[in-house]
């Protein structure tokens, strides 16, 4: 029997040479006449080890990483096909402390299966949620999602069940399921991992949502920066349709659900739900005023469920294991798990799925093993470019929607970006405003004009320390206008990184006065 060797096909592995490693293994085993089957799996989410090559031996998956093509010969020489020792050996992958301490409900198959193999997906519990949903009336599916306490994973944290219920109760000849896969936040990659590493889970979640609200068509709006995810989804849809998991006769039930993938075009603000709908309709991605809610008048004016990738991916588990099993995890009003993403200057960056309530410090120290540079940590940005910067003394904050809000932050999409002590926080604040100026859709004045004026103010502070206190007052006033006067989260949340940098790291904005104090 041939030995199975796994080489990930996730973008983060491809970007550090996984294709070259797979080719080198193929060449070398052919030369040696060995019987090896190379499987391109998803990533386990331990990116510091990528490309992480795994060998199946005696029922175990022994990992080696990070592997470069030049390591392949010595790996084969030292008997890695039998799990033998080598400088790159990391041992049985499932026992790795980084994975062992996680609570992977959504990411349970990630990195284990061949992403496009329907057989693998079914073998690991796939489509069991859909099978349950097909036996239930729509109201009961929605009730399960309501009972699970599932909240939108895109950042706003709106209860998914309420959204679904609104769409279910709306009457219209056509309803839509739209997936927000415009994962533009820096420090996040969980959606990308799902689309590349377990795409059927997303399709299953969409089909269940379709059954729940009476929608027969779904769109996935994927970033153009994610070409591999786009192609994986296209292929997965074709295969799922051919096998009857999607299409005109879902698992012989007579129910219908079709999915289309659409490519975005590089606009960050299209991650906002109404701008996304405009973009799907073929217009400029300009934010719509609400009401009407997309649940009542969404895509092409029809009732639309618009959910983030991770929201829909939590649904198959909820249906197959029951709402109570999901709601058992978490704290307060944040139920279930969140796939956190450790990024930036971190030694062990990657994906950590944990129940809500874990502290930022636990994630960074226990899972991330501190900074990659080895220098002291100075700031952590949680929740993407519109999230607040936290200093070391706030790192014990539990990651839960309400606890984060109480400390002036947001959980967002679960991205955690670590900075060491070389970071200049005035520059980070300036960047946040510059980013807003670049990406603003231009519909509302506070965001369109305020971002540019704010960037100028911080730049002035950086170069004219003598007037920095006056500038700070102006900047705070301006942030207040953005917070309260913007149409959407783009302008409304840009003040979070700016104000948190001002509040927690004032010495970077007023270098001279702090130098005088220190002296």
């Amino acid at each position: 029997m041939s030995t199975k060797v796994y080489v990930p096909r996730d973008s983060a592995a491809l970007a550090v040479g996984a294709d070259e490693v797979a080719a080198a293994i193929r060449n070398e085993v052919e030369k040696r006449g060995l019987d090896v089957q190379i499987i391109r799996n998803g990533s386990r989410g331990m990116f510091w080890l990528e490309p992480l090559v795994e060998v199946e031996f005696q029922g175990q998956r022994i990992g080696y990483g990070p592997v470069s093509p030049k390591d392949v010969r010595t790996l084969l020489d030292s008997g890695f096909l039998k799990g033998q020792s080598h400088a790159l050996r990391v041992g049985e992958v499932n026992d790795h402390p980084f994975l062992k301490q996680q609570e992977r409900l959504t990411f349970s198959r990630m990195g284990i299966t061949d992403p496009l193999s329907l057989e693998d997906y079914r073998h690991h519990g796939g489509f069991s949620g859909l099978c349950v949903a097909l036996t239930l009336p729509p109201q009961q599916i929605v009730q399960q999602v309501l009972d699970s306490g599932l909240r939108g994973r895109g950042g706003a944290g709106f209860p998914a069940g309420i959204k679904w219920k609104t769409v279910l109760q709306a009457t219209a000849p056509q309803k839509y399921i739209v997936v927000n896969a415009d994962e533009g936040d820096s420090g996040t990659f969980a959606d990308r991992m799902v689309m590349e590493g377990d795409p059927y889970m997303l399709l299953e979640g969409m089909a269940i949502a379709g059954l729940a609200v009476g929608a027969t068509t779904g769109y996935i709006y994927v970033r153009s920066e994610y070409p591999h995810a786009f192609h994986a989804l296209q292929e997965a849809i074709v295969r799922a349709e051919n096998a009857g998991f999607l299409g005109d006769n879902l698992l012989e039930s007579g129910k219908r659900f079709r999915v289309m993938v659409r490519k975005a075009a590089g606009s960050y603000v299209c991650g906002e739900e109404t701008a996304l709908l405009e973009s799907l309709e073929g217009k400029r991605g300009i934010v719509r005023a609400k009401p009407p809610l997309p649940a009542l008048s969404g895509l092409f004016g029809k009732p639309t469920v618009i959910n983030n990738v991770l929201t829909l991916c939590a649904v198959p588990f909820i249906l197959s294991h029951g709402a109570a099993a999901y709601a058992e995890f978490g704290m307060g009003r944040s139920r279930g798990t969140l796939p956190f993403q450790l990024a930036g200057n971190i030694r062990q960056g990657g994906l950590v799925e944990k129940a809500f309530g874990v502290s930022i410090r636990t994630l960074i120290e226990q899972f991330g093993a501190g900074t990659a540079s080895g220098r002291p940590l100075r700031a952590v940005q949680v929740g993407g470019p519109l999230g607040a910067y936290f200093p070391d003394r706030l790192l014990d904050t539990p990651l839960d929607y309400e606890a984060m809000a109480a400390r002036g932050g947001v959980l967002g999409h679960g991205g955690i970006v670590v900075f060491d002590d070389t970071v200049d926080m005035a520059e980070q604040a300036r960047y946040a405003l510059e980013f807003c100026a670049v990406e603003s859709c231009g519909k509302c004045t506070p965001c369109r004009i305020g971002s540019t004026r704010g960037e100028e103010l911080v730049r002035h502070m950086q170069h004219h320390p003598e007037s920095s206190h006056q500038d700070e007052q102006l900047l705070r006033d301006l942030c207040n206008t953005l917070l309260n006067g913007s149409l959407c989260a783009m302008g409304g949340m840009t003040p979070y990184p700016v104000l948190s940098a001002l509040d927690h790291f004032p010495e970077d904005f007023h270098p001279s006065s702090h130098a005088i104090k220190a002296a």
Binding site: A15, Y268, F435
Partner: protein, 192 residues
């Protein structure tokens, strides 16, 4: 009475509709040939893109992607062709093409380098990396190199945030781009 009214209304709307169709067909025939400023091969690609996506819901973005995937950019002369066939104004199509950073309106350089400028990559040295690439290729961020060989663009996140700094060269992703890796990627023969 109501029935008669409905019938009248239907027949009137049928007549109006068929006139519209005729008009539309006339417009289509007039516009099925590419305007003279669009070279023949480009015109053919543009027409194919329109034909492929015309009947889809919200076809404009897929058409533009299809054109750029095949030609490398959106020829400005194609805007009129698209606008007429989708029954949109030129301003609407122009607005969409110029709104989205992904769409180019001029032919790209031979080698396009896209460097992530977002926070996670900043925390791992993206600013220094950008400066190094600028000095090595001779082109500033957002510009073409003087010899037209390179163009250097910023991107806000490639989704490789745990393995930054990240770049994409001609669409191919590269992460953990340190000094040595950059040297490999910018082979000496290609330097400005």
């Amino acid at each position: 009475m109501i029935k008669i009214n409905q019938f009248c209304f239907c027949s009137i709307s049928y007549v109006v509709h068929s006139c519209n169709l005729k008009y539309q067909n006339m417009k289509n025939t007039q516009n099925s040939l590419p305007p003279p400023s669009l070279p023949e091969q480009e015109g053919r690609v543009v027409q194919q893109s329109i034909d492929q996506w015309m009947s889809a819901e919200g076809p404009l973005l897929p058409i533009l992607h299809h054109i750029q995937d095949h030609l490398g950019y959106i020829p400005p002369a194609s805007i009129e062709l698209i606008a007429h066939q989708l029954n949109l104004s030129r301003a609407e199509v122009h607005g969409v093409v110029t709104y989205y950073p992904h769409f180019r309106r001029e032919k790209p350089a031979l080698r396009q380098i896209v460097v992530c400028q977002a926070e996670a990559c900043q925390a791992r040295g993206a600013r220094e990396l950008t400066r190094t690439i600028e000095s090595r290729t001779g082109c500033r961020l957002g510009q073409h190199s003087p010899d037209g060989q390179w163009c250097l663009e910023s991107v806000y996140c490639l989704g490789l945030c745990a393995s930054g700094p990240a770049v994409a060269i001609n669409g191919c992703l590269h992460a953990r781009v340190d000094h040595d890796r950059l040297n490999e990627l910018l082979s000496p023969g290609d330097l400005a």
